[in-house]
Symmetry: C2
Subunit: 448 residues, 2 copies
């Protein structure tokens, strides 16, 4: 907390020390002379219930219990956890146990391993039954420029559970997109109704772990939750409007789509790439993810044919500009022609080697070549969704400079409000998740 | 060719120059005074047939035609291509047209954009109808330490086709694993029989592009091939023993599994990771890919419980060592106990932060910490398949140093014969492809 920069008062409580990190330390919670807003509890599990009782007596409204060793490990632990639930009912709210707590840049709080989390706030909230995921999502997402309003690692959910948190975030003006990693749900019907309601105005992107046999077993070891049946969860996602994702990567990709793309519905995309097989793979990936890559009308094909090279190219959609480093004017003319004459909702620029482009550019620096600027200019002019796919081509340790250059160009696009994905498949999946959400919203709000 | 270091004699042919790059240049092929082994043809499409005729007259046995503008663009092009097929029948073999040609480190040849390809040869062959893919596979794969015997970009396949190439590689002693990117097949029944035969001794890993409507259309623009029906290709893969992959990533991952893992059959894996949700996700991913993560017997769970932390851990399989940076001795004891007492075929070390490990290690250097060495030591002692999963956690341009450190540790494992994958999902898919291949081999060789 101190490392993160918490600006409020801190009162360490410990029966054996009189000073910790320069702070006067109190033997018991009740000894603190001033009123307290929030307590973070890390004593061993058997001592937790008494401490929470003391917090209640002190008038503290909420605590987080980071300690593990409750329901997830033994029957004794389960009994201890039931005690906590009982104490909570008397008038104190508990997050945890077996969690990493709360990250809130505005409040100056951070989760247990979150000392170096971003200080700036953002529009994305995350609730996670897993502490590890609550730590990894903001770390990875911050590389994509994503910032968070609140991240809550809530562990075994002895009191405050996923429903309470989603409800809170639904009303939180700072939060525009709600994400979550769940292992189990305490009250299925309430959760379902809540998701139906929240999804009308805020997207809820959920990763449900433990839907296989081995996964369910691991869930039980982890947070003492029951994994649930896949069919039940399928129905929940289909009917509630919540967005289902199946991995950390998909959760972040989908969040990126919601942050960087406007609310829109259409599934028709044009892919502009530099290579025949890239076009084939792109069309396959889009159509497998439920997007369509419509055949362009002959007239539009002819216009495009006058721009791209006469051989080694393609104009039917996907558009193949012939190679991964086309002249900037060619890429620009292709994109403009597609957006002017093509009946598409999104344009995906696929695997054009932006970081290598422009022989005059400072090769590994932050000076982006003329080619790299084309999608930015086109997006500004047309206002239509532009999506970039920029795979990591240079894998080896000896190619780290190339990877640095690629990342600089990614940052440039993100800074210009253009989402970047690592593969076409991942871009298509995220787009499909985005569009599916708005389609569902339309469907439930239409009178029939 | 010269940049790559071709050591044989080179005879440029050009009617307008007398010298090119310091080489005496001949107006026509027939003017070259010595016998010629191989010709690479890059003249415009309408001139190609006459040139190939001249090569035939000169006694050249084989040519590659890099020129595009044949079957894939027009009926005229199709007629030109049929002329080439006719000339080939008279006694000269043609690779292409519309291709990047042949990369053969032993022969000193490389494909059109392959000047900087590795000079060393290796056990993997690749055939690709796409020039772009023929260029990308060796580039990306080389970052994983994969080296190639031959890469053949064969484009429209007017003469030499996928069957000829697979048959050749089947008999090529340098080639142990055959990979390929296909858009269409000239002779389906022959190809099917050939794959059945080859798969008995060499794995054939194939990515078939163009199985969706949009993909098929792109295939036709690209190499003038007919994409084929998905059901037909499903059957071909199921019955021939060839290994189906659906992306460049999966092709390389699967190749990595074949190169770095022994031939084996079992689908039982133990996952050892540092975090509860990581274990849940790992179990879900393994079981979705057809692997099993068996529940450990009570006795083994108890042994593991005496090694891992008492809380915040898991012993049922997956094994959760409690955090992403366990003490080296703990990871070692867990791995050894699992391999001694656990009835598993593979152990996957999942998302342990090896590159951050060992506070004494040179942080971004090549001096690997004690923790990073554990999987190497254990693999040496037990000889069982060990697989590493090391995701890219640090995405941003400002975190490129961390990524460099991660790649150094990856290289260390690859150097020690341990495969590394970027996600558990990708590792599980590659493992499943590997094991499925050997299962098929067993099934067809068993008398029933």
């Amino acid at each position: 907390m101190l490392g993160f920069g918490y600006a409020g008062k801190v009162y360490p409580v410990n029966p054996r020390e009189s000073e910790i990190l320069g702070f006067k330390t109190y033997p018991r919670v009740g000894d603190i002379p001033e009123p307290i807003d929030f307590a973070s509890i890390t004593v061993p599990a058997p001592a937790v219930p008494d401490i929470v009782e003391e917090c209640l007596a002190k008038g503290i409204k909420a605590v987080q219990v980071l300690t593990a060793g409750f329901r997830e490990i033994s029957e004794e632990g389960e009994k201890l956890e039931e005690q906590l639930t009982g104490i909570a009912a008397k008038g104190i709210r508990i997050i945890g146990p077996n969690c990493f707590g709360v990250y809130s840049p505005v409040g100056g709080l951070t989760i247990l391993p979150g000392e170096n989390f971003p200080k700036e706030s953002g529009p994305v909230a995350c609730i996670s039954q897993s502490g590890g995921i609550a730590a990894r999502i903001p770390r990875r997402a911050s590389g994509w420029g994503i910032r968070f309003s609140k991240v809550i690692s809530y562990g075994n959910a002895c009191d405050i559970n996923e429903c309470d948190l989603v409800e809170y975030l639904y009303h939180d003006p700072e939060t525009k997109v709600i994400t979550g990693y769940l292992e189990g749900v305490k009250d299925g019907p309430r959760f379902f109704k809540l998701l139906q309601e929240v999804s009308k105005t805020k997207p809820v992107i959920l990763w449900k772990g433990g839907l296989t046999q081995g996964g369910a077993r691991a869930v039980y070891s982890h947070t003492g939750s029951l994994g649930g049946e896949e069919a039940v969860w399928d129905a929940l996602f289909q009917q509630s409007g919540a967005i289902r994702v199946n991995s950390l990567e998909e959760l972040i990709d989908t969040t990126l789509a919601f942050l960087y793309l406007p609310p829109y519905r259409g599934r028709k995309v044009s892919v502009v790439g530099g290579g025949g097989a890239i076009s084939v793979a792109a069309a396959d990936a889009c159509e497998r993810m439920g997007l369509s890559v419509p055949l362009f009308p002959t007239e539009l094909q002819q216009k495009l044919a006058s721009i791209v090279p006469p051989v080694g190219s393609g104009t039917r959609n996907p558009v193949d500009v012939g190679g991964p480093m086309p002249p900037p004017a060619m890429l620009k003319a292709v994109m403009e022609t597609v957006l002017t004459d093509g009946d598409v909702d999104t344009i995906i620029v696929d695997e054009i080697e932006m970081s290598m482009s422009g022989h005059g550019m400072k090769r590994f620096g932050r000076d982006h070549g003329e080619l790299a600027q084309v999608p930015v200019d086109v997006k500004k002019r047309f206002g239509k969704p532009v999506v970039m796919v920029m795979p990591v081509e240079a894998i080896g340790a000896d190619a780290i400079e190339f990877e640095g250059a690629r990342r600089n160009v990614c940052d440039y696009y993100l800074g210009e409000g253009i989402p970047v994905f690592l593969t076409l498949e991942r871009a298509a999946r995220a787009l499909s998740n985005l569009v599916g959400y708005y389609e569902h919203r339309d469907a439930i709000s239409s009178p029939g």
